[in-house]
Subunit: 255 residues, 2 copies
């Protein structure tokens, strides 16, 4: 079935981008995504291409060999008896603040302002033994670079989200969220909008980029090799930054 | 286009259920959802019907007239100069704990264990002036009742999620999450699963019910009258409870 049949009006679809190779540093990810999208029927205006952070980090060379890491005393303490102090040292170097810790678990604030487990440092699905993958240095810039190439290759106006799986306070399990965006408005602002009875809406801002990332995760899977998806049917074209999704420190009741 | 065309293999779709009337207490919500689903091409095995909490609460009569509420001293204090003490009193009655407050904002733990703004008490899109809508008493039970009727009416094995828009610590904007589930496994447990290189996955549990709720929100909208959606293409059939999505207090670093 052609992808032309996928999205009748009002329907939102998440379409997996399959058949990408195992990614390595300097791979042309945009070209690989374009080819996978072509196999899925092609990109269209207002599509959002959601790419897992790990795919982006791998092609950007954001990989650390633990053998090269000298752990500090603090890393050894935070790792506890069950953690790897070299991995915790890597987490600390990616962090501006440790929000909570319970060895070997570290919840940290990254340089980007994200609060997440291990500052996003991940030891699964890495390119080689004894390596860890870091978050992209600037996920918005990563998204912008991918978007520019995709727009040029496909000649359509698509958005890009770089996504990752984050845990949440108070709730079990991870959901995917947007770390970087390009060509979209990540936060849908309903302030000033009235409900059916003319009363102003209380839920005034919807983190639509996070919801798009979550919808994409439903087709990404963690163990299969599907690092990206198209989300079609939500027109959120705009010029936002994932920084809009970070709660400003002065408004944050949980830091 | 018939809904048969909506979901090729591997694609996940969120299909809005439109044309429901303004809901009132004792309305037959399952019958209304069934009719709306029939207009959208019908339900199929493994579909998940996501219903906004407010729709469920309205038909269950979970509505409070503020004129009937006598605020306590604590409610008056927490409301501050800008809040409505009667609304805060209603929030306190729905809560087992106030997690954070900054008048008039109250982040509370509900009787169900959910940590959210205003204990889920909402003053927008209510049935009448000066009323607020509460969360269902037992959202899993609400989901089970809806599911039983839908399975009987449509003769297919569908799941049901009762969803609501929750804010998050550290991130701006709301995303929809599952308050109640029936006929599905809300938490996808990957513990013991290995990555491509044989290393056990670190992100071990995915809150798939929350991601399905988020995907549905993309077609629900807040100001339009679309209180429900079908999410098709994720087979999460099972026998779980939304309680699985609540972080046990002893593991919670943020309470």
């Amino acid at each position: 079935m052609s992808s032309r049949d996928v999205s009748p009006p009002g329907v939102v679809s998440a379409i997996p981008l399959e058949g990408l190779p195992e990614l390595e540093e300097s791979d042309d990810l945009a070209l690989l995504l374009h080819a996978a999208a072509a196999r899925a029927g092609g990109l269209r205006d207002a599509d959002v291409v959601v790419v897992a952070q790990k795919a982006v980090s791998k092609v950007e060379g954001r990989v650390v060999r633990l053998a090269d890491v000298e752990p500090s005393a603090r890393a050894i303490e935070l790792a506890g008896p069950d953690g790897d102090p070299r991995q915790v040292e890597t987490i600390l170097r990616e962090s501006v603040d440790v929000v909570r810790s319970r060895p070997p678990l570290v919840i940290a604030e990254t340089r980007h302002g994200f609060v997440c487990a291990s500052a996003g440092v991940d030891a699964s699905n890495t390119p080689a033994e004894d390596t860890v993958v870091l978050l992209p240095l600037d996920p918005d810039a990563s998204a912008r670079r991918l978007r520019e190439r995709l727009v040029a290759l496909a000649a359509v106006d698509v958005g890009v989200i770089v996504s990752d799986s984050f845990g949440r306070a108070w709730r079990q399990g991870t959901t995917d969220v947007a770390l970087g965006v390009a060509g979209i408005t990540p936060l849908l602002d309903l302030r000033g909008t009235a409900d059916a009875r003319g009363r102003e809406l209380e839920t005034t801002q919807i983190a639509v980029a996070d919801e798009i990332a979550a919808a994409a995760e439903l087709v990404l899977g963690k163990a299969r090799s599907v690092p990206a998806a198209i989300v079609r049917g939500v027109d959120v074209r705009g010029d936002g930054s994932a920084a809009e999704l970070v709660m400003p420190r002065e408004r944050d009741l949980f830091r």
